[in-house]
Symmetry: C2
Subunit: 544 residues, 2 copies
Amino acid sequence: MGFGLDAVVSKLQNLATSDHSSVVSMNIFVALLCACIVIGHLLEENRWMNESITALLIGVCTGVFILLVSGGTHSHILVFSEDLFFIYLLPPIIFNAGFQVKKKQFFVNFITIMMFGAVGTLISCTIITFGVTQIFKRMDIGPMEIGDYLAIGAIFAATDSVCTLQVLNQDETPLLYSLVFGEGVVNDATSVVLFNAIQSFDLNQIDPSIALQFIGNFLYLFLTSTLLGVGAGLLSAYVIKKLYIGRHSTDREVALMMLMAYLSYMLAELCYLSGILTVFFCGIVMSHYTWHNVTESSRITTKHAFATISFVAEIFLFLYVGMDALDIEKWRFVSDRPGTSVAVSAILMGLVLVGRAALVFPLSFLSNLAKKSSSEKISFRQQVIIWWAGLMRGAVSMALAYNQFTMSGHTQQQSNAIMITSTITVVLFSTVVFGLMTKPLIMILLPPNPNKGTSTTNSSLNTEPQSPKSVTVPLLAQESEADLEGHEVARPSSIRNLLTRPTHTVHRLWRKFDDSFMRPVFGGRGFVPVEPGSPTERNGLAWH
Amino acid sequence: MGFGLDAVVSKLQNLATSDHSSVVSMNIFVALLCACIVIGHLLEENRWMNESITALLIGVCTGVFILLVSGGTHSHILVFSEDLFFIYLLPPIIFNAGFQVKKKQFFVNFITIMMFGAVGTLISCTIITFGVTQIFKRMDIGPMEIGDYLAIGAIFAATDSVCTLQVLNQDETPLLYSLVFGEGVVNDATSVVLFNAIQSFDLNQIDPSIALQFIGNFLYLFLTSTLLGVGAGLLSAYVIKKLYIGRHSTDREVALMMLMAYLSYMLAELCYLSGILTVFFCGIVMSHYTWHNVTESSRITTKHAFATISFVAEIFLFLYVGMDALDIEKWRFVSDRPGTSVAVSAILMGLVLVGRAALVFPLSFLSNLAKKSSSEKISFRQQVIIWWAGLMRGAVSMALAYNQFTMSGHTQQQSNAIMITSTITVVLFSTVVFGLMTKPLIMILLPPNPNKGTSTTNSSLNTEPQSPKSVTVPLLAQESEADLEGHEVARPSSIRNLLTRPTHTVHRLWRKFDDSFMRPVFGGRGFVPVEPGSPTERNGLAWH
C-alpha cells in the first residue's frame, strides 16, 4: 500500500506539544475504550444498539465535550491517521476474520462470495464514479480531477458489515452469514486494491489499453497477495510442526503465530501488494494447519487473543471515527456553504443505495441461475438483507478519504474539505441510522424460529460447554469437526447439498489432496505430533 | 515518570526518511524476532545459551551486517528510545511478572525481598556513586555534575535477573527463586523511582533536609503507586464480577483486563507516580481476584497471552539493545581515546561487583538472624547465586542512561558519549559473559538432585497436564491451589514453616480478612458467580 509512517509522525508531533498532555490523551482514550466495553456489555440485550454504534456515539459525545472544554478550537485528542489504521488496526481485524471464518462455508460459497466481493465492488465503484462525475460537474464544488472521481467511487464502495454480522446468527442462517461475512472481507480488500490501483495510474489520458492494464494489475495483485499469505501460513505450520515448539514453551508458539501473521502483512506492504488479502489468507491457512499443530492451551489462547485484539481494534476505530467527526478544522471550510455539503452527502448516500442495489439483485439472480435446489437459492428476503448489510460505510472509507483528500490529516482546500465532511456525514449517518434499524429489520425479514432456536441451544450444549458469545463468533473447534465429518458421514441436512452442488466435487477433490499431500507435511487436524501425556494425545487417540 | 512521547517522535522522524525504508526496517525487525524465537527454541537444551543472550547476539550480528552494508554510517534500524521502552515494552513485562508471581512465596518472603530490592538498591547506588565520584574526578573524562554521578549510581543499580531466572527451577528451590524474582521486580521499580527522584531534585545545594525530603518523596511514591495499582486491580475485579461480563463474551473480559492494567500504568504516569510499581501490584491483585471471576477460557487466554506479550517484549528489548550497541555515532566520540572508555567500563563493572557483594552478604546475614530454623536461612551457596543473579545489567540501565546522557537518542558531548558507550559495554559484557556462565555456575552450586527431580516430574504429571515450560513459568492454577490448602491442610514440608515463621501469622490474618471481607466483594477463588453448565460450575462444585 505504501502509506508509510509520515502521518504517524505528524500525528505524534501534534500530540507531543507537551509530554503531559499526551499522557492525558492516552489516559482518556484507554478509559473511553473501557467505558465502551462496559456499556456495550450492558446494552447487549438491547433491541437497537450494538457495540459499534455505542463506540461511535461515545466518540461523538467525547468530541462535543472536548469541543466545549477547549472553547471550540478542537474536538479530538488524536488526528485521524490512515497509517495508524492500516499499519496497526486493520491487520488484526482482517487476520482474525480469516482465522475465525468457517472455512467450509466460505469455500463452498467461494464463487458467489467472490462475485459479490470483487465484481460487486467494481460495479458499485463504477456506478458511484459515474454518478458523481455527472452530478458534481454541475455543482460548484471546486476543482476535481478524474482521479478524484474514481477515488470517490472506491471510497464509497468499501462497505462495513460489522453491524449486520453482530445481528445475524450463523447457526440459523449459515448461507446468509457466510455470504455477508465473506463479501465484507473481499470487499475491504478489493476496495483498497482498487484505490491503490487508481492512485498509481496516470489517468489523464484514458484509452482502452489502460483499462486492460488496470484489470491485469488488479488480478496480479489479487493472486500474488493470496499466494504470499498462503505461503506465510504454510511456513508457520511447517516450522511449528517440524521443530515441535510446544515441547518447550506455549508462549513461543503463540508469539510465532502472531509475528508470522504480522510479518506476512508487512512483507506484502514491502512488495507493494495488498496486505489485507495476504493477512486474510494467512489467517485461513493458519487456522487450517498451524492451529492444529500447537498445544491445547495455545489453541485456546490464540483463538481468544486474536478475537480480543480484533475486538479492541474495532472499538478503537469507531471511537476514533466518532471523535474525529466533529473536527472543527474541516467544518469551518464548509460552514459558509452548508447547503452544498448536505447536498453532496445526500447525493453520495443515494448513489450508495443505488450502487448497492445494482450489484446485489442482479448478482443474486445470476448466482441463483447456477443453483438447482430451491433451498440453495438466495431468497428475496435474503437479498434485501445482503443489500442492507452493505449500506453501512465505516473506517475503511474514512481512511481512504483521508488518504485522498488530506495531507497527513489536514486540508486547506475547500473541495477537499467538502469531500471529507461528506464522507464523515455518510459514515455517521449510515452507521447510526441504518445500524439502529438493522436488528428490527432482520427480526421482521427473518423471524426467529422458536423450535429451531431451542434445538440449536441443546446441540451446542451437548458438543461443548461454550460462552454465549461463541454462538456468534465462529468456533474453530466445532467447525473443524464438521470439516472432518463433512465428506464421510453426511448429516441428514447436508445430503442434498452433497448431491446437488457442483462446488462440492471441488471441495472433495481438495479434501483428497489435502489429506494425502498437504496434511502430512504441514500438520492439521489428525496429523499433529503427539506429545506424551498431553491432552492432544488423549484426544488424538480418540480420533484415529 | 514523565518521559512523554517526544523521543518516539524523533525516532519515527528518523525512520520516516522514506516510507519504504521504514517498512523495510519493520520487516527486518519482525523477521529477526521470529528468528530469535526459533533459534531460542533450538538452543533450549544448550548448556550455556539462553533466549536473552541469543537475542543480544543476533542483534549485534545484525548491527555488524547493517554497518557493513551501509558503509559504516549506521548500525541500527531504530534509534534506541527510552519512551518506546517505558511506554510499550516495560509495562507488559512488569505486569506479567506481577500476574504470574507465586503470591504466597512472594508475601511470605516479603520483608527479605523488600530489603534486597529497596534497601539493597539504595546501598548499591550509594557505593557506585561514591566510587565513581572518587575515581572519575581523577580521570580526565569531561564536565560531570553531582547529578550525573548520582544518576550513574541509579543506572548501574538496576539489575536484570532474567538470565538467572531462566535457569532456576522454582519447584526445586522455591525460596531462592522467589527471592531472585521478587528482588528483580522491586529493584526495577526502585531504581526507576530513585532515578526520577534524582532528576527532579535540585542537587546543587546539599543539606540534611534534602536527604530527609528525598526519603519522604521516595516513600510517598512507593505507597501511592502501590495503592493505585491495588485500586485499579480491585476495580477490574469488582466490575467483572458485578456485571458478569463473561455472560455475553469472553473477549470483553480479556480486553477489559488488558485495558485496565494499561490504564493503571498510564494513570500512574499521569500523576507522576511510578507506573512500574502500580502495574506490578495491579497484576498481583488481578491474578488474586479478577482472574477467578472470568470464564475458564478467559483464564487460559489471559495467562498465556500476558506471558507471550511479555516474552516478545523481552526479546524485542535484547534485540534492540544488541543492535544499538554498535551505534557508530557514539563510538566515534570515544575512538580517539579508547583507553579511557575501556577503563571507565572496567571501573563500573568492578563497582557493580563490589556494590552487589556489599548488599547481598550483609543483608542475607541480617535476614538469617531473624530466622530460627536452618532450612529457612539463606545458605552461602544461595547467597552467591543471589549475588550472581544481580550482576547482569539490562534494558532498564540502557534506558536510564539514554535518558540521562542523550537528547532523544543522540549526543554530541564527549563525556556523555563515554558514559553511553560504557553503559553499552557493561550491559553487553555482563549479559553475555556472566550470562553464559550462569547455567554452569548454578549446576555447580546447586547440583540437581536426581531423586527429587523425578518425583517433581511425577507429581506435576499427576496434578495437571502441563507443557514443559510451565515448570519455570509460575502456574497460577497450581499456585492458588496451594494457596487454598496452605492454611488448612499443611503439607509435610511446610509444617515446620507454619510453626516457626512469624510472617505466617500475618499471612493467616490476611487470609481471614480476605475470606470474610475482600472475596465476597471482589470475587476470587471460590467466590465466583457460577454459570450453569460451564466448566466453572463443574469444578466449582468440587471445590465447595
